[in-house]
Assembly symmetry: C2
Homo-oligomer: 222 residues x 2
DNA sequence: CCTGAATTGTCGGCTAGACGACCTATTGAA
DNA sequence: TTCAATAGGTCGTCTAGCCGACAATTCAGG
């Protein structure tokens, strides 16, 4: 990938928009771009070169394998999201990322480099901290949901959140391109495949939604 | 409280130890110290003066009231912990802090002031970000526990963590000063009062621990 | 166009653990 | 010292939703 494209992708991120063009050019040099097609895996390196990743284009899911060898989907990320060792602390986990949209582009920095970058740019550093604070709150929210809400409620909230992020609204319905299996959704809302299937059918009968393998249509209730 | 004492308390925090003494003196001026006795409540202000709090001495619990008026204990904090609006984003929640040790001292900054402080001190800023990253991981861990472990396991992990933080180890046992009710513990591990009581008695019968209202004694298994 | 693999649909059994009820023990304020 | 409030103890009931099993459908690669 040529420098101009890198430059453009970097500046495109809200976090980096505060940087001057010369600063941007210099971080172009320490950034590492990677692209992946649907289904391809992006591994996080676990050696001394732990990295912080920025998703520049497309959608991907963060996945972990449990004891029994099952795929647990931990999160679904969109353009602009940050993943990898974004807590800036080494850790051993078996997470990896899988591209779920046709073409995924992400860029990464070595954790050490990224830390130096933050130290040199107080404004960037503060934005990054706030971004992490935001992520913290989101997780807090997920935790509270799991604590107090039943599966049905979590399922509905999940769909609503998804719709608000990626839904294409029509006059009386919201259309979602569905790239998740029931199993995926189950692990995201902390339930089981069967229960998710049942919930889909239940809401379908109630006329709240319609779905196929490729699409979910949420009816706007009058 | 006089400036010297403030100064001393501030410098005592790992995060602030990187600052020069003149910097420390200047943040003395914008810091607000508060102390509380056992059972007293420290309210977070929810106006434009949202604050970031540092616990300097003692132990406190972060509490929220649910729909039915029940106290939910969300966290228990020790000296050195940070609370309040540490995500640096305004939010409306009904959290407050209750002192559970005899004498609690904490200091706070207006969020805006604290942000300026971070912008002026890149090193402090980076440490703060890493601290938040650490908190994020801890929460991630709690979430995973809730997802995959049963109540018994969560209860045991809870005790172990507590012991590692505050336990006083004897030759063959670890003694914990108990300032939490079964109800408190229940909400921390996401269960119910009755179940916690049962678990305590179960582990007692197994000879794994002993407990009273004021003390929990974990037997080291040979 | 076939075929095995992946995904979805459905059912019944089962259990962890929530919940209500009620009783006892402890505490602390007056 | 008393008494109300709070905390702990115990027991049955009940159910959300997990889990295994298996069939039906869909898909993707040859």
């Amino acid at each position: 990938m040529n420098l101009d494209t890198k430059y453009w992708y970097l500046r495109d991120h809200k976090l980096f928009s505060v940087l001057s063009s010369s600063e941007l050019k210099s971080i172009c040099m320490i950034s590492n771009f990677k692209s992946a097609k649907k289904g391809e895996i992006i591994l996080f390196s676990h050696d001394e070169n732990t990295r912080v990743y920025f998703l520049k284009k497309g959608t991907l899911k963060i996945v972990e394998i449990d004891d029994k060898g099952n795929e647990i989907v931990k999160d679904v990320l969109q353009k602009g999201d940050i993943f990898g060792e974004f807590t800036l602390t080494e850790s051993q986990s078996d997470e990896y990322a899988v591209a779920v949209s046709d073409s995924v582009i992400c860029c990464s920095f070595k954790m050490d480099d990224f830390e130096k970058l933050l130290e040199k740019n107080p404004q960037l550093s503060l934005s990054y901290t706030k971004w992490m604070g935001f992520r913290f709150k989101r997780l807090q929210n997920k935790y509270a949901n799991l604590m107090f809400k039943d599966v049905r409620t979590r399922f509905k909230s999940f769909l609503e959140e998804w719709a608000s992020k990626e839904g294409m609204a029509n006059s009386d319905e919201i259309i979602l391109k569905n790239y998740l299996t029931h199993q995926d959704i189950a692990s995201l809302i902390c339930s089981t495949r069967q229960t998710v299937t049942q919930l889909f059918n239940e809401l379908k009968e109630q006329g709240i939604l319609d779905y196929s393998r490729t699409e979910i249509i949420l009816k706007k209730v009058a």
